[in-house]
Symmetry: C2
Subunit: 452 residues, 2 copies
């Protein structure tokens, strides 16, 4: 008993001392970022000087230059660009008008990303409204053919985690156009995948199935959808759509990468990142300027605190998350070709809101190991380590066996802004953004220090 008593005393002392040191580092990281962090200033520059930046656009090129310069200024040992072939989608002019008999009324809309347009011609047809897929499936080809299907599915506001709601309502954006086309519809209007109590339309990508004829698909805001719903209930409604959107080939763009080489295990890479591209409206502030500037802040904080990571810290600003994920694939392909060893990848792509935890998508053993440090995060408001989601850009790495994680910010406001003209710098709070960077830096520090 004496031996075990001494051993457990020794272990307890040793562990407490280690946790005490970790806790002190956590505090330094937080103080540094909350007092001197530059991520909010960086975000202002990205949003206001460059603005939205769809893959293949001039602004996306500028964002690449901006990211490269930011990483250099943050103090990266090496900064480089990794070529990525991205699809180019062009919106052009677009309009949607509704009529229930008399005059036509123009309503606010956005074509979904990657969708075909009407080649600038007027497409006019009767509207058939369905509230969900069940209703849609009951309709025959005759009832759909030659019509514009209005998928009037509401975001399930009762779900506390809005990402669950997005998964649910998002199906109408992802699959609605394919299902409608298969029954001969000429176009699709969806109620935006939006928690907003407003008239803001939300764009976002769709992917046409190979087997169907691509038809134009557009989103309208909740207020317009309420109004269209009321009109459809009263009687026949016609819509006319005019849009110029189209795919315009591919272009070479870049992932922007910077790193601090590890002092003890330089071959072990700990990745942190977000995506540099955004939709072609708003300023891509929450989605995902926030994740980019937070990831750069991680590296800057290591430098500011003179922490040389034991393992290599690599920041990746991915290109083309929104409408192709080509950056994520190119990165994983390159890592495989170079036989790089990624021991961990963390993405921030759920908005610059107050952090609440991390999704940990990895083996139970690794999750259990990281959760041992949970109490260290509690004073910074991060408590939720139960979810298991990383991020889209790092999903190809995950499939290659890399343990991945995703920052989990408070999710209540994200789908008010997501993929809209309202996703601007002003929608991001400086302290919430910085606190996210604090949590990310703390987690990344743990893994560079102790491995995973």
């Amino acid at each position: 008993m004496k031996f075990f008593g001494s051993l457990s005393f020794f272990l307890a002392f040793f562990c407490n001392a280690a946790f005490g040191q970790d806790s002190a580092i956590f505090r330094q990281i937080s103080d540094q970022i909350m007092l001197h962090g530059k991520c909010y200033d960086d975000l202002r520059v990205l949003c206001k000087n460059i603005g939205h930046r769809l893959s293949g656009s001039t602004q996306a090129e500028k964002a690449v230059e901006w990211g490269e310069q930011c990483l250099r200024e943050a103090g990266a040992d090496k900064v480089w660009l990794q070529p990525v072939d991205v699809p180019v989608w062009v919106r052009g002019r677009e309009s949607l008008e509704i009529s229930s008999g008399q005059s036509w009324k123009k309503i606010s809309m956005l074509s979904l990303g990657n969708t075909v347009g009407t080649a600038g011609k007027l497409l006019e047809a009767p509207v058939v409204m369905v509230n969900d897929f069940t209703e849609f499936k009951k309709l025959s080809v005759e009832e759909i053919k030659g019509r514009i299907v209005f998928f009037n599915y509401r975001f399930p506001q009762q779900l506390v985690n809005t990402f669950d709601g997005y998964g649910d309502a998002g199906a109408y954006r992802w699959n609605g156009p394919n299902m409608a086309s298969a029954k001969g519809a000429v176009a699709v209007i969806i109620r935006s995948v939006s928690t907003g109590v407003d008239d803001v339309p939300h764009t976002g990508t769709l992917r046409y199935a190979d087997t169907i004829k691509p038809i134009p698909a557009v989103a309208i805001g909740n207020i317009s959808a309420d109004s269209l719903e009321a009109q459809c209930k009263r009687g026949e409604v016609r819509a006319r759509l005019q849009s110029e959107c189209r795919m315009a080939g591919t272009k070479t763009s870049f992932n922007v990468i910077g790193e601090l080489t590890g002092s003890e295990h330089p071959e072990q890479i700990v990745l942190v990142g977000g995506h540099l591209d955004s939709w072609d409206v708003g300023e891509g502030a929450h989605d995902d300027g926030a994740g980019c500037v937070q990831s750069i802040e991680v590296l800057r904080t290591f430098k500011a605190l003179k922490i040389r990571p034991k393992r290599t810290l690599r920041v990746v600003l991915f290109m083309n998350e929104e409408n192709g994920l080509k950056g994520g694939f190119a990165y994983a392909d390159s890592a495989r070709a170079k036989k790089e060893k990624h021991i961990f990848a963390l993405e921030s792509d759920a908005g610059g809101f107050s952090p609440r935890g991390f999704g940990l998508d990895m083996s139970d053993a690794r999750r259990g190991y990281l959760k041992r440090y949970k109490h260290l995060f509690f004073p910074y408001g991060l408590y939720d380590f139960e979810q298991q989601h990383g991020g889209a850009d790092i999903s190809p790495l995950k499939r290659a066996g890399v343990p991945v994680a995703g920052l989990l910010p408070d999710a209540q406001r994200y789908f008010d802004y997501h993929h809209t003209a309202a996703d601007v710098f002003e929608a991001v709070n400086h302290r919430e953004l910085k606190l996210g960077a604090v949590g990310m830096t703390q987690l990344v520090w743990l893994v560079t220090q102790y491995g995973l």
Copy 2:
């Protein structure tokens, strides 16, 4: 062993069944509010149709009528007004100009609440800047006398809980004017108690010590404070202040009270509330329109779900929290006089942001009892039950021995808006506000059901 085995099986079964039922009620409450709650609509009416509502103002009178009507419409069994004598403070016109030699420059400012003015006359004096009380204490009476003291104390942004920062920096608003007057200063300018990266001045109350001569005190926004700091470092700076603010006697106003009488223990009162008054700028949206509409939502949700509380559920919209707390005192006095038995009081007065938990200010035994239900709140994002703060309006009840609690919303944004013209309806997110009402209703339901 057999007996104990059976007993523990029985207990486990019984407890799980009870928790299962509680969990189902929690879900019903959440679904009801997230899908059909009216607190956000109520807040719009309060903010946009009435606006700010300082005690004694016409708008405060209108807010009392609004609160009474809301509680009736929500389905209260009884609604009544409880008279409260409130101090009346009038701002009038005010201006602050700064000069470092040449021209005068007007800067954005707000007199602190309850402060004296210059009776509309021009008060001009040299400015002496101090960064904190330590610097101030080093200055002699000669160095302060006849001057305007600029307390240039920064909000400690490194504190993750901004209420800790408020407690720290707030001392300059509460005590700065008294300390400056005691050394012969003629006025005080403070850097606003603000987390904002903007030029928004924050008002808020001060209380003159009986022993000193009251002097005017004003707040300026962070950007103006940065600029004044730079000027003071460069050389002599003069300020001129003109203000008409003054105390203007007292007036009778009201706490607004509504209740659902308990079915089994009507004499046991479970209170939930917020405060109806606000400062005389902005719309008092987060402070504390949010707490009022959330408290009304609690009662409305009981009615909507046809839950007759076992104990009496009482909603109180307090008057005069901001510059006197007379409503809180009047309520506690009345409760004592009537020998009412309050078993619990919950206040929401920290903003309509995503809820993170409850401060539990009560005996360890009661805190431990409530924390047994902690896991039920987790799916709704409430996890923090470690703090011990109720709310100002219910602090007189607390002193009378009532167990009190305070909703703890995410605190990152609150002090960007607190006591400012920026605290408007648009600064409140509909889902965050509703989720706060969800947590409050769940906690109140637990206590009406099981006691405390």
